[in-house]
């Protein structure tokens, strides 16, 4: 890795004083405020930052491309001697897809649903006549093999909707690699994947860029992921560079306070407390969507005033369990008991009091709030519905609730669109609290948030739990979050509970096979983690 920093190693991409403006709220705002970037052949650069930091915009600018609604206002982008900032569309198109390739975040949305995968894989190479079509197709099959895709000979003849997300992401890497580009921009390529899938995709991508000595810019908000991929890391915030350093140095001794704060979020850890008083228990629950059975004999007991984290990859039945508890999906068999009393299976058969005691917070705070209601109406609604508060009493209680979530009464008249992501999730928490619940089900409530905002929300939830003795059922796929908030952990896989127990028990050996796979797949802030993991798995 070190020889790549040899100054004689030739420079592939040199971006100087890049400035990009974006159009919103009727005017132009600066998004990138004078960033420099230098990349040599075969080097991999990690570009990290929170959402809105401008990392994706900068990554695309490295291709000389700005999204509709953005414009390059200054700077130069020299790619192998060509200034992309000044080049015409035709000139840039000759480079795109052949010498510079792009791998997008959501593979499912970035493949054209109307064309077969192989046709899309060879499209760019064929357009410029890099080699005959038949050779391109044969080469694509070789790439599919190298990326360890199942049935490499035939998978290309499928349509995008016929393969899984992890496979699509690998095919997209093959698509980028097909014309053997000098540079690939990876734009959050594993963010939408489960941890267990992410490991395979990361390993496949890393091997193939190493094999062809391709330079890459790897954009992500996940530090542990970038640590596995990059030779050096650049941290961006508010469109400016915070710092840049070789990966190992950046991980061990970050210099800037902002970088340190990014690193520290992962250190949050709550001491576990055992609970005996069971408030909610799920007994032998089977549930199905139509003919497809998704839960098999699920047993979970949740102690009062504690946090039980439910972990598992997508499709493991985590959210379905929440739907059964709330009554949205009546189970086929089995029961849910609250304070020892069995709850009616269906939502419509439950009393107002039963409804009041179990509340929910959702992953997408955006879509969980009526965009035409003010904060006061959103929080006031459960106060009126469950507690019969109106007028002044309601207003006073809304202000109290806003204080509990560390916001003030100036938020009363705001609409959801006037709030940040973290504030929206706080309002959803206040809405759940308004009903005076005993149990709150949190369905991936921090997944859509940046790390620093996540930390704030988690701390708030912990404080509220301490003050009001609230019980959380916390659904998540993120192990760092689990460490930060839970007392007990339930591991789910394919609709079954693999194990349940105290955090310390679950997170220490001996592990059942699936838990071991899940835990070992969570990237760690160690640049050698992926290498060691793959070596361990192979042996």
């Amino acid at each position: 890795m070190t020889d790549k920093h040899d100054p004689n190693h030739d420079i592939l991409l040199e971006m100087r004083d890049i400035r990009i403006d974006g159009f919103s709220d009727e005017r132009w705002h600066p998004i990138i405020k004078g960033v420099d970037l230098t990349l040599r052949r075969g080097e991999i650069m990690g570009l990290i930052g929170e959402s809105g930091a401008g990392k994706s915009t900068l990554g695309k600018a490295a291709m000389g491309y700005t999204q509709p609604g953005c414009k390059l206002t200054g700077g130069s982008i020299i790619f192998d001697g060509i200034d992309l900032a000044k080049a015409g569309d035709g000139e840039k198109r000759k480079l795109w897809g052949t010498r510079i390739a792009y791998v997008a975040q959501s593979a499912a949305a970035s493949f054209n649903p109307a064309h077969r995968l192989i046709d899309q894989t060879v499209e760019a190479a064929n357009r410029r006549g890099i080699r005959p079509d038949a050779e391109s197709r044969a080469d694509a099959v070789e790439l599919f093999k190298a990326l360890q895709l199942p049935n490499p000979e035939t998978i290309g003849s499928r349509y995008p909707h016929q393969v899984s997300g992890g496979q699509l992401q690998r095919i997209m890497t093959a698509m980028a690699m097909s014309p053997r580009p000098d540079l690939i921009i990876f734009d959050e390529p594993t963010t939408a994947l489960d941890v267990t899938t992410q490991v395979e995709v990361l390993a496949a991508m890393r091997n193939i860029v190493e094999e062809f000595n391709t330079a890459a810019i790897y954009i992500t908000h996940d530090l542990a992921v970038v640590a596995q991929m990059a030779d050096f890391i650049k941290v961006l915030r508010y469109g400016e560079e915070v710092e840049q350093a070789p990966t190992r140095q950046m991980l061990t001794k970050p210099e800037q306070p902002y970088t340190k704060s990014l690193w520290s979020v992962r250190a949050l850890e709550k001491p576990e407390v055992k609970g005996e008083d069971i408030v909610l228990s799920i007994d032998h629950v089977d549930a199905a969507y139509g003919p497809i059975k998704v839960l098999h004999d699920v047993n979970i007991s949740i102690p009062r005033g504690r946090t039980v984290a439910v972990v598992g990859e997508s499709g493991s039945g985590k959210s379905t369990t929440a739907r059964v508890i709330t009554g949205l999906l009546p189970p086929i068999s089995g029961s849910v008991s609250f304070n020892g009393e069995p709850l009616p299976a269906a939502l419509k058969d439950r009393s107002k009091e039963q409804l009041q005691k179990i509340q929910m917070i959702y992953q997408m705070a955006d879509t969980a709030m009526n965009p035409r209601q003010t904060v006061e109406e959103i929080i006031g609604r459960p106060l009126e519905f469950y507690l019969g508060l109106t007028g002044k009493a309601r207003e006073a209680r809304v202000i109290e609730l806003l204080e509990m979530i560390e916001l003030d009464d100036s938020f009363m008249d705001r609409l959801p669109s006037e709030l940040s992501g973290g504030q929206k999730q706080r309002i959803c928490i206040a809405r759940a609290l308004a009903a005076n619940p005993e149990v709150i089900i949190c369905d991936e409530v921090t997944s859509a948030l940046d790390q620093i905002v996540q930390e704030g929300i988690l701390k708030l939830l912990l404080r509220l739990q301490k003050q009001y003795n609230i019980t959380y059922l916390f659904i998540t796929h993120d192990i760092a979050t689990v460490k930060a908030i839970s007392d007990e952990i339930v591991v789910m896989f394919q609709g079954k509970v693999v194990e349940q127990g105290l955090k310390s028990e679950i997170l220490s050996p001996p592990f059942p096979d699936y838990t071991k796979l899940l835990l070992s797949s969570v990237p760690e802030m160690d640049p050698d983690w992926l290498t060691n993991l793959l070596a361990a798995r192979d042996s």
Partner: protein
């Protein structure tokens, strides 16, 4: 069974069910029309007995449900009935089969609709695609404004303007489109030129704007950005990456406009004195010739159902998710 085939059969079954519902609606709404054929024909001087005798001859004395089922029964056997007009109480019957009245008119209407569609659909697709390609340019604005103008102008007015310019001031085409069974194809095409042009101007805007909107809607998709970053040119993006995903909405709006060409062109027929089915139906309503009205209404309903079915099928076969399930 092949999922596409089963979907098509399902839609076809639904279409037939719809046709039955529509037939009931047609029948009951015609029963509610004021006036009575026999009174209209025999005049106010007719005695009650003659009216009753005439009603009996036409079968109008039977209760409505019986008449309905008799009508549906004979339609199912391919018999649309006998026209009321031409009959007369004196005993000499010069009435004609509804089929003989309707079929030549229907062919004329389909001929005009076909000629118009051959001009209008490719034109609308071309204008829609190029407007999307050159979005927000002067070309786009001109195409949009022009088509909007033609759709906002009443069709009889468009027809008279065309007559004024293309038949009167510069006599290129005839202002009358009177054709009959003996007219040769070339002559027919020549005579329907102006009505076809009028209808083209009326329907192009809708189809063109929908094509443009469907394409532009897709241009914001991540896979379009991906195509651009793979080096595709703007025309490749539109034709190869956007259009294959836009067929369903485009086919729906084309079907809607083709149906209009069959069922909604009576004004244009009147202006150009074109012997189409619209005029036949209006005449039949005026004279309360119930079998003819019912036959026309049923044909119109079937046209809508068939064209929408075709649009649905196009929507299915152009969508790999439906054509190649997981």
């Amino acid at each position: 069974m092949n999922p596409v085939l089963s979907t098509i059969l399902k839609r076809l079954g639904l279409g037939i069910a719809t046709l039955f519902v529509v037939s009931a609606i047609i029948f009951s709404s015609i029963s509610m029309l004021p006036g009575d054929f026999s009174e209209a024909v025999l005049g106010q001087a007719a005695t009650k007995d003659t009216v009753a005798a005439f009603r009996k001859e036409l079968g109008l004395d039977k209760p409505a449900p019986v008449r309905y089922f008799e009508w549906v029964g004979s339609v199912l056997q391919g018999d649309l009935g006998t026209s009321f007009s031409g009959r007369n109480a004196s005993g000499q019957d010069r009435s004609r089969q509804v089929v003989d009245l309707v079929m030549p008119r229907l062919w004329n209407t389909l001929f005009l609709a076909g000629v118009t569609a051959l001009i209008a659909v490719p034109l609308a697709l071309f204008l829609g695609l190029t407007a999307a390609l050159y979005r927000n340019t002067a070309y786009d604005r001109i195409v949009n404004a022009a088509t909007l103008t033609t759709i906002s102008t009443p069709e009889f007015f468009v027809a008279y303007i065309l007559i004024l310019f293309l038949a009167s001031l510069w006599p290129v085409f005839p202002s009358l489109a009177n054709i009959d069974a003996s007219t040769a194809l070339g002559e027919r095409l020549y005579r329907v030129a102006l009505p076809a042009l009028t209808l083209t101007l009326v329907i192009v805007a809708h189809m063109m704007r929908m094509t443009r909107a469907a394409i532009i809607n897709l241009l914001a998709s991540p896979y379009i950005e991906m195509a651009r970053l793979k080096g595709a040119s703007q025309s490749e993006i539109i034709l190869k990456h956007a259009l294959p995903n836009a067929w369903a909405p485009i086919a729906t709006v084309i079907a809607f406009n083709l149906a209009y060409l069959v069922v909604g062109v009576v004004v244009v027929e009147v202006v150009f004195v074109y012997p189409g089915i619209g005029q036949l139906m209006v005449d039949a309503v005026t004279s309360r010739d119930i079998p003819v009205v019912q036959a026309c209404a049923l044909i119109f309903a079937a046209t809508y159902i068939l064209l929408n079915l075709t649009a649905d099928i196009i929507g299915i076969v152009t969508n790999p998710r439906l054509l190649h399930p997981r």
